[in-house]
């Protein structure tokens, strides 16, 4: 954490190159055998430091989000064995069955994220509650024997790590490990705690005061679902036999629902447990926080474009719910730094001008490489154009200015976006999405005010009631006040003015009673049908032509003002010059890397070898099979035309026909005989390759047939 603070500090105020020389050795990865130019080095370093910051930040976010959960858990653990060893002689003690305190930790289905959670959990436990924490995984615990071995190994080892001074202890432990039963664990625990009691006070006071006299033994079953019932039953029964001597606490990591405990364990076993439920934060909320803190913060110059962000969010929502994978995908986006010559500038954007100067020595050479910049140059006057293309200093100035602009744009963008989100998230049906990330995506995509959804949400906003409007305005004021942008003073003033106007309105409304009520009273008096109809019509007329009330006028004014803010500040990023320095938008690259389609790739390779081999001879028109293609491709193409069972003889026939297609028909008999053998061998090899790839398998129904295993088989 300290390291992160240091990095952050040096980043914002003075990104001195000295600090960044942390990992000089690896920079060659980016150079890829070329001459490692100063530029690539710089880019690599920027990338590296940025990534370190981001990583630290994500970990911090995770920690913060889990804090509540862990606090509850530690409270539960502390309390669960508070009265160990029992001294109380209450009559209930004898009668009540001693249940094993158990925490059911519901973590959600994103199993990939769990490891990190468990790691930090065990860290927290070891810091606060007990040194004895064992993490068990189902794949290591096929039988009760393995489970006990793992458990004892982890517990006794952790003791060894605790104080490696006592060597004779270690020998004892290793001897005992042969007998892995609960009773040896009990004796071990007793010896350990006794030692704590009698050991020299100077050495032990710290640890015993930290953990208490009898720290509980925490056994974490990471993936409860995968454990077999038998193992769990046995383990729980055994532990419950020793709960008097051993302060044992179980933590079940559950991915689906806690109901599963009842499905897994019979009542006779679950009655030995004292289960309390702990629910972790939903992963969607986690993702929202990560996006808000990483992408929607001016602190990190590395941004994702609309398409790239959409790809990552889709993978998250459609496939795995894993925040970890989302962050990994974000990291892949860092490839950006490798590919774009100008992206080295991204690092200095938040920094001072001085930092920029250092970085700007390089881009002068490849000034025309950046497309966006070219456009910018062309849009300038001719004098300016020449200056930009020839004079380094002028270029530097301009680039710095542009970067500065971009930074200011971000700050404004984020605040206004949040402000707009406050309005839209209140609306019924959420035309612009419930989450901030959805709104962000829409804004990135195009001018948000040109979309239909924006139009409809403005219309809805014009119908908000007063109390909602006031709270929203107050929230907006808070956002603008707390944001780092400089030019929001005006906006805040304006919003506050609206608020005071509201107060005035309220006061006025208090004074003059409503007119419509009186007219309604009149309405009630009249009993005559004709008159009633008449007055109703009049009322309708008056309503249509009625002037808007003051409140309504004010409401329009506010909505219009918000609209103007949006139009001013929520311009999509790709309209800004030099946006490509910070934005990564190659969605196809992300999709290729993160959402691979092996079946499709394999099919493409075998069906159309040209797309990988790039051999002109393989280029075929239409669906015909070239005989120049690799054998396996020909065999594959032929097998696509068959049903579930493929006759090998027919297949070979077709294969040889394809191969012989272009050869001269009048070849002499002897050579064709030889050819047949070769073709046969080639065919067999290709077929076995196909079998190896899992497309076919030998069939038991007919000996000279093989069965297809892929699509179209049935």
């Amino acid at each position: 954490w300290g390291f992160f603070a240091l990095l952050q500090g040096c980043f914002v105020f003075k990104p001195s190159p000295k600090k960044r020389k942390v990992s000089h050795e690896t920079e060659h990865d980016l150079g890829e055998g070329e001459v490692v130019s100063e530029d690539t080095e710089l880019r690599f370093l920027t990338c590296q430091s940025l990534w370190n910051q981001i990583k630290a930040e994500t970990e911090q976010i995770q920690e913060d989000l889990n804090k509540q959960l862990f606090d509850n858990l530690t409270g539960f653990l502390r309390q669960s064995h508070a009265d160990f060893p029992e001294k109380t002689t209450e009559w209930t003690r004898g009668l009540r069955s001693r249940e094993i305190p158990t925490a059911a930790l519901v973590l959600g289905v994103n199993v990939t994220d769990h490891n990190l959670t468990f790691r930090s959990l065990s860290e927290v436990l070891q810091n606060n509650i007990t040194p004895y924490v064992a993490l068990l995984e189902a794949k290591n615990c096929a039988g009760i024997k393995h489970l006990m071995q793992k458990l004892l190994g982890q517990l006794m080892n952790c003791q060894v790590d605790e104080d490696s001074l006592e060597d004779e202890d270690y020998v004892q432990v290793s001897q005992k490990r042969i007998r892995c039963s609960m009773s040896s664990l009990v004796t071990w625990y007793q010896s350990v705690t006794k030692k704590t009691d009698s050991a020299t006070p100077s050495k032990r006071t710290t640890s015993s005061s930290k953990y208490g006299q009898h720290p509980p033994i925490v056994v974490v079953l990471k993936d409860m679902e995968s454990f077999s019932t038998k193992v769990l039953e046995d383990f729980i029964v055994i532990s419950s036999q020793h709960i008097h001597e051993l302060p044992l606490v179980l933590i079940f990591g559950i991915a689906t629902s806690p109901m599963m405990i009842h499905n897994l364990l019979p009542h006779s076993v679950s009655s030995l447990l004292c289960i309390e439920l702990f629910q972790s934060l939903s992963c969607k909320e986690h993702l929202s926080t990560v996006i808000e803190k990483l992408l929607l913060s001016p602190q990190y110059p590395f941004k994702l474009g609309e398409k790239a962000l959409q790809v990552l969010i889709n993978i998250f929502l459609y496939h795995d719910f894993s925040v970890q994978n989302f962050v990994k995908g974000y990291q892949v986006g860092n490839e950006h730094f490798k590919l774009r010559p100008w992206s080295g500038l991204a690092g200095c954007e938040g920094g001072s001008r001085r930092a920029g100067e250092g970085l700007l020595t390089r881009p002068c050479n490849d000034r025309t490489k950046s497309n966006g910049f070219k456009v910018y140059v062309e849009s300038q006057g001719s004098e300016k154009q020449i200056a930009l293309l020839t004079e380094d200093s002028c270029l530097k100035e301009t680039v710095q200015e542009l970067l500065e602009n971009l930074h200011v744009y971000h700050e404004n963008y984020i605040s206004v976006l949040r402000c707009l989100h406050i309005f839209t998230s209140f609306l019924p049906k959420h035309p612009l999405g419930k989450q901030l990330r959805e709104l962000h995506c829409t804004c990135l995509e195009d001018r948000v005010w040109e979309t239909e959804e924006y139009e409809s949400s403005l219309q809805l906003a014009r119908m908000l009631n007063k109390s909602d409007l006031v709270t929203m305005l107050q929230q907006c004021v808070e956002i603008f006040v707390s944001s780092s942008g400089k030019q929001f003073g005006e906006i805040v003033e304006k919003l506050k003015e609206f608020l005071t106007q509201f107060q005035k309105l309220e006061a006025e409304a208090f004074q003059e009673p409503d007119v419509s009520i009186s007219s309604q009273k009149e309405l009630q008096k009249k009993t005559d049908l004709y008159h009633l109809q008449k007055t109703l019509l009049e009322l309708k007329e008056s309503k249509r032509s009625k002037k808007l009330t003051k409140f309504e006028l004010l409401r329009f004014e506010i909505v219009d003002y918000i609209d103007s803010l949006v139009r001013q500040y929520l311009l999509p990023a790709d309209h800004k010059t030099l946006h490509e320095v910070m934005y990564f938008n190659t969605a196809s690259m992300l999709r290729e890397h993160l959402n691979a389609a092996p079946r499709i790739a394999l099919h493409a390779a075998l069906n159309n070898p040209y797309c990988y081999l790039k051999n002109q001879a393989l280029r075929t028109a239409g669906g015909s099979i070239s005989n120049k293609a690799p054998d396996i491709c020909i065999v594959y193409r032929l097998h696509l035309e068959c049903g579930r069972l493929i006759n090998l003889v027919d297949w070979l026939e077709a294969f040889s026909t394809v191969l012989m297609a272009t050869e001269e028909p009048n070849a002499d008999a002897s050579s064709s005989d030889q050819d047949d053998d070769v073709i046969h061998a080639r065919f067999i090899r290709a077929v076995s390759e196909l079998e190896f790839l899992g497309f076919i398998k030998p069939s038991k129904q007919k000996t000279d047939h093989v069965a297809r295993l892929t699509w179209g088989g049935c």
Binding site: S80, T92, L95, R96, S97, E99, P101, T102, V106, G108, V109, V111, K145, I178, R179, S181, M182, S183, E225, S226, D234, V237, I238, Q241, A255, T256, S257, P258, M259, M260, H262, H267, S270, S271, L273, C274, I275, E276, L277, Q279, C283, K284, I315, F316, L317, Y318, H319, D320, F321, N595, A596, A597, P598, I600, G694, K697, L709, T710, W711, G713
Partner: protein, 432 residues
């Protein structure tokens, strides 16, 4: 009531024993007559069975301890391999004999065991007294090596020492009998406690502050509520201890005296009913229950475990699960009809075969191949689904979450087959 009588043991001890084992006097007296005097050889093996919490372990324990008969008590679940079991018996034997801990001797086979056992018995001053080896949860022995159970049954003969093996189990002897034949033990059945027995045993241990009658009345109410669902003595004891403070509440507050049974009943009855739905089923833990009692809160605030049935799944996982469910419960022949848009006409008659008319939910899920799952997935998802690696890994993660299960996992290349293991209610919740 048979009074325990035996010439070998002092009458005072027998009286004490009798008071400790209420409602099991006849069994104890039978056991005593089987055991005979201390030095007498008795049956080589005794098999005691009866339901959970019918006092098998407790009776044996108290009997052996009160009369101070030399014995070894081992739980076969805890010592799950034959080696651990045999070693544990030896360790217990040694710890009896001397204070000094002899170093640990590995004992891998029964042959070793017999040898070491003879040594251990010899070193102990047993004076030819019968040694009892009690093996609790003896049904576990069947899962160990085949020779363990028969050998224990004739341990007396093998070791040529005065030893008797007592097996305790919840299942009948017929399920133990090995194919190869063995020495038949004496079997002894411990019947379930009747409601009268339960009342007697539970009321025996009344808290010192209150009178026995008061507590007996409480137990009466408790049994009235719980006897229908639970006859497990241990569980009832647990429940009695949990809820007693609530029962006493009116007395403590001075609203009722100890004899005011009706008032007390009115106070406790709904409370116990609630307990039956929550604590007894382990929906909420007993410590949470106690906390609720202290705070006088409504248990409605605390949701039980089964209240959290909702599982949040990624978009495609949901569809995969639904597709798996459809594949598991629909016959293959109907796929075309359900999932192809222009399936043509299907004659109503003869459409369903006879066995298909029984509800497929009664028959349980049927296995289906991966391809069928993907085909159904493609037809139920609106937009196109690319068969990406993520989709396949989602299937695997559904298997690890135990929502699907793999059937006959011989070879991945062989076209894996799955079964959907979730219920209709679950699928309804997912599909919503």
């Amino acid at each position: 009531m048979p009074n325990l009588e035996h010439p070998a043991y002092p009458a005072a001890k027998l009286l004490q024993l009798e008071s400790l084992v209420p409602c099991r006097e006849s069994q104890v007296s039978l056991l005593l007559s089987i055991f005979g005097e201390r030095e007498q050889f008795t049956f080589p093996s005794i098999f005691i069975y009866g339901h959970r919490a019918s006092g098998k372990t407790y009776v044996m324990h108290t009997l052996l301890n009160t009369l101070q008969l030399p014995h070894v008590f081992v739980n076969c679940v805890e010592y799950f391999t034959s080696r651990l079991l045999l070693e544990e018996i030896l360790i217990q034997l040694q710890s009896y004999s001397e204070a000094e801990q002899t170093s640990h001797v590995p004992c891998d086979t029964l042959n070793d065991f017999v040898r070491l056992f003879k040594q251990a018995v010899a070193s102990r001053e047993l004076q030819d007294q019968t040694l009892y080896i009690v093996l609790d949860r003896a049904e576990q022995l069947r899962e160990m090596e085949a020779n363990i159970l028969p050998a224990f049954l004739r341990l007396q003969e093998l070791t040529d020492r005065n030893v008797t093996v007592v097996l305790l189990s919840e299942i009948v002897w017929e399920l133990f009998r090995p194919n190869t034949g063995c020495l038949e033990p004496v079997t002894l059945y411990f019947p379930d406690y009747s409601i009268g027995h339960l009342q007697k045993i539970l009321s025996q241990n009344h808290p010192p502050v209150y009178s026995a009658d008061f507590y007996a009345a409480y137990i009466n109410i408790l049994l009235g509520v719980f006897y229908m669902v639970c006859r497990d003595l241990k569980e009832l004891q647990h429940l009695a201890a949990l809820n007693f403070s609530k029962y006493c509440e009116p007395v403590v507050r001075g609203e009722a005296n100890e004899r005011d049974t009706r008032k007390l009943w009115k106070n406790i009855e709904p409370h116990l009913k609630k307990a039956m739905q929550t604590v007894y089923l382990r929906e909420i833990s007993s410590s949470q229950w106690e906390r609720l009692q202290c705070d006088d809160g409504e248990p409605g605030q605390l949701k039980g475990l089964s209240a959290h049935t909702h599982v949040e799944l990624p978009y495609y996982s949901k569809f995969l699960l639904i597709a798996a469910y459809l594949a598991s419960y629909n016959p293959v022949r109907t796929d075309k009809r359900f999932f192809v848009k222009h399936h043509g006409k299907i004659r109503k008659t003869n459409f369903m075969k006879k066995h298909e008319k029984t509800s497929s939910h009664l028959l349980g899920p049927k296995p289906f191949p991966l391809d069928r799952l993907l085909a159904i997935l493609h037809s139920i998802v609106d937009n196109r689904v690319a068969p990406t690696a993520n989709i396949f890994s989602q299937i695997t993660s559904l298997v690890t979450l135990q929502l699907l299960s793999m059937v006959g996992n011989n070879d991945q290349l062989d076209g894996p087959r799955y079964k959907c293991t979730v219920s209709l209610d679950f699928i309804r919740a997912v599909a919503r």
